[in-house]
Symmetry: C2
Subunit: 258 residues, 2 copies
């Protein structure tokens, strides 16, 4: 067993010493990578069987589990965090069972050969920041209007009216004229006032009911109350889903939607 | 560098030898696991930044990429297969750039310290089998009727009529009475005949138009033509989505849907 700072490695371990290393790693809440020849049974929301092959098993410090084949970015089997584990050695097979507490499901991984065991204590306190511009949110909603709300139909974008430009203008599922104001960050009262002005301006020209929606990933304190007072709606925008929807290819300019 | 069958390991490598090992591994289409201290920039459908921390970078033989933090079953960043890679060493930082060919997006991983590099040639030809019962497909459709088709509304299940029991009985988005016959495997002509009998039986009692849907993950040769002749529909069922939808908690018995 070679130690490299906070990483322990076992090369070509026998199954007895593998059992000990895995049990120790789990009890110390370490992350563990096992590379070896295994097969897998899953029982829970459905049942699945993975035939024998050489794979990578990744058990994280929080009790989540991933089994990766040598190709494909998705794991072939996985379990979310907070699994508990049973390790046993039966008939020359090391059996690792990951069991979920809340849901009746279990993942059983059977190893008959291990090439490498890595037990790690990783320190990771870095923040993850996702940046999506208002233009990108606008484009995402135009591409997939369900990101705003079900059955929303955009009619135009950057529609010019008296106070400025409306981000998205469309019809809701009941066919009501709808003005959408997009904010990429935590929307404040300024955004509500801006939206109210647009709704009023449209109402004057349309002489029929007009809805206003503030679309943002978050709103500041007090904004919900202000929206309610002004009879405007808030729709939470999922920035990750927007990011997944928008693709920066030359082929899809925003104009192509209309 | 220690060799364990088809796995090469570099412990605490300097960045120069890391660069060589990664380039060699990539050129030989090996799977590579890098454990070290890194930060990440993503540019593409959106932009994201991951601040420095200790993580696991997994580059697969097919050019897919995963970056895993010590917790959470989802990767913090990832790229699908067929990326191409640029490796460079600038100012004591090893920069691995994974670039997608079809979409303008790139993932840049900056390492200033590597604890372990594992380069593997894994052989995995095992098949993956997912088993979902007809009862589970039924439950999944009742939970999330969009799995069958958009805006489908179940009315009852296992409805008894003359020839037997209808799996799911409901209204389609146009409000038309709809009979659904579920098959968990590749549906054949027997399933079509069964469905046709149910539709006829319902039509006799309802004296209004009745639709029939054969819901299965696959259909046998000639079945599509037979369905068309009998004016019945086929809806492909995604077993993975069904499996994800159904949860075996005691709280959600099938009866709870009605």
């Amino acid at each position: 067993m070679g130690k490299t700072s906070h990483i322990s490695i076992l090369k070509n371990p026998n199954l007895d010493s593998s059992e000990v290393a895995i049990k120790n790693g789990l009890s110390q809440k370490r992350s563990i990578i096992l590379i070896g020849h295994c097969w897998v049974e899953y029982n829970g929301r459905a049942r699945s069987i993975l035939e024998p092959g050489e794979r990578i098993l990744f058990i994280k410090a929080d009790g989540s589990v991933l089994i990766h084949r040598p190709t494909g970015y998705k794991p072939v089997n996985w379990q979310p965090s907070n699994c508990y584990f049973k390790i046993s050695l039966i008939n020359d097979t090391l059996i690792i069972t990951a069991i979920r507490k809340k849901v009746q499901e279990s993942l059983k991984i059977f190893f008959d050969k291990l090439f490498l065991i890595t037990v790690m204590e990783l320190v990771d306190e870095g923040q993850f920041y996702l940046h999506v511009s208002e233009k990108e949110i606008q484009k995402a909603i135009l591409t997939n209007p369900d990101l705003l709300e079900k059955a929303f139909q955009p009619i135009s974008y950057e529609k010019k009216i008296e106070p400025g430009f409306i981000d998205i203008y469309g019809l809701d599922k009941e066919g009501k004229l709808t003005v959408v104001e997009i904010k990429r960050g935590r929307a404040g009262k300024g955004a509500v006032i801006q939206l109210a002005k647009y709704v009023d301006a449209i109402r004057d020209t349309a002489s029929r009911p007009v809805r206003g929606i503030l679309a943002a990933p978050q709103i500041m304190k007090g904004v919900q109350k202000m929206l309610a007072t002004l009879n405007l709606d808030y729709r939470k925008i999922d920035l990750k889903k927007c990011a997944q929807t928008v693709t920066f290819t030359k082929a899809t300019k925003i104009q192509d939607f209309f």
